[in-house]
Amino acid sequence: MADAAAAVPGDPPATTVLDSLGEDITRIVSPVSACMLIVVLLVSLLSSPNSPSPLTASFAAVTGGSVGGGADDIPTALITAVTFVVAVTAATFLLALLFYLRCTPCLRAYLGFSSLAVLLFLGGQVALLLISRLRFPLDAVSFALLLPNAAGALALAALSPASVPIALHQAALVVVAVLTAFWFTLLPEWTTWALLIAMAIYDLAAVLLPGGPLRVLLELAIERNEEIPALVYEARPVDPRHGSNWRLWREGSQSDGNLDSSSTVEVIGEAFGRSIEGNSGNISPSQVQEASTLAGVVNSPPRPRATSTIEQAGQASALGEHRVAVAEIREPLIQPPLERSGEQQEDEDGIGLSSSGAIKLGLGDFIFYSVLVGRAAMYDYMTVYACYLAIIAGLGVTLLLLAFFRRALPALPVSIGLGVLFYVLTRTLLEAFIMQCSTNLLMF
């Protein structure tokens, strides 16, 4: 109570970490849920599992074609998944190399190009599909006027968080994630599951193993105290007074005497095809204390994720250069020098804390969660509910582990593992049970 007496009248009572933790978690779970919801809606509206997509044909062409067009079997799926992971690893190492050579402009340019490509081409395709399916009589002139405009505005919003309202920036990131995830759900079924599991394993390895590309990149960024250009979703900080460097929240170049330069994750979209976004981050229970000591937590540069070039494999020749890459970079959490307790790794899949104490989640996590739920939606809504709950539970477990271990952890493995497990269980066990109950009018 002595503290309260010393406070200025009208000053809000000192908040503990518990007061803001729920809000923090809500602010990261809501966009993830929104992304998944939109992908499920799009999949329900637009998917026609009978018609083979050009993507399937391109896969068949890449993997030898001996399986026939659009064949959906396990060897093809495994080969595709392994190819994807290899491509992502190579791209991440390339990214690390570019970052090491300080080619930040070309990284940013590539990020901008890929996010613009995603929004323009994938967004245009999705819009056309929606218009065709709903028979909405929009005319070509308006469409040609609106699409590049919207794509340009959203790309700008995704890339430079300082020039647009925070809400728009976050919405643009979610839109990019939704479009990429929808594109991924067009893969054949076994390929999708193999891809998800492979990416979860890759994420685990890349973040935790000493030679992993993400770890290398993050260590580079930590040691240089720069941010990696990447696409990372950053939740709005609950208390804007948390970071003393409120003005530095978006700027990466200024540095105070006591503070590391705030390395807000700049948005850099790199889509090589498959990006794995892991969120690494540690939720520090002492974030409040840190904030109050004006030691903002600096996020280490995120790890860019290169997405594999499925497009390249398939239809690059036909469509030119479509590089949809979403670079998901996670930023490691860097403690200020006063409290530096060791390096913290950031996975792309980690949940990090920004300099203002907000939670950061890489865009790749958004994408792969939504891919899992979208693929579940192609079966039935029952699997959607089960997988959604599993993923959110996995996210919570990851946050808990982060707070416990205080090091960067990948966010994909737990959620994807639980999601796949629940999908299998629902489809084999729960469905039979529910069907029996329903047909016998026992439970609806």
């Binding site: 405009n149 919003a157 409120w246 003005r247």
Partner: protein, 155 residues
């Protein structure tokens, strides 16, 4: 009570800390125990938004680039500087004065664009073939997409 514009340091002590955060600071023994007047921020994000000195350049850049057939930049400008737009013209704080013309003109530009677009689109949708004749089928988007072969999902 005069309105304070946020982000403008009023004394040399504030440094990087914005004045409104003084409300959260524990007061020293000599500080008066009054709440400072509520700050007015230039951007809709409040303390997290653009600092004041960059706001003018930003508003002007978005306004000028909007003429390159990018009216959504005008919309972003209006949304971002909504507090400036909303404050009545007479009592705008002096710090907002250089920014306000750009924001107002962006608002005017965006409203003109949206009125024109909505009028045209509504005429097209409601009029249909009765008004346009057979060219309606040539202009409607799903037919154009089918003709160009882009309505299937590309890889």
């Amino acid at each position: 009570m005069e309105t304070r514009v946020a982000g403008v340091p009023e004394d040399e002590e504030s440094g990087l800390l914005p004045r409104p955060s003084a409300a959260g600071r524990r007061p020293s023994s000599a500080a008066p125990r009054f709440r400072p007047p509520p700050a007015v921020w230039a951007t809709v994000d409040g303390p997290l938004g653009l600092p004041l000195e960059e706001a003018e350049g930003h508003a002007r850049r978005f306004f000028l680039w909007g003429f390159a057939c990018l009216p959504f930049l005008w919309a972003i400008n209006c949304c971002y500087f909504w507090p400036i737009l909303r404050s009545p013209a007479a009592s705008t704080p002096a710090a907002f004065a250089p920014i306000r013309p750009y924001v107002v003109r962006s608002a005017i530009g965006f409203s003109i664009f949206s009125v024109v677009l909505i009028t045209w689109a509504t005429t097209f949708i409601v009029g249909g073939e009765r008004l346009f004749g057979p060219t309606w089928n040539d202009l409607v988007m799903y037919n154009v997409a089918d003709k160009l072969g882009i309505s299937g999902f590309m890889g």
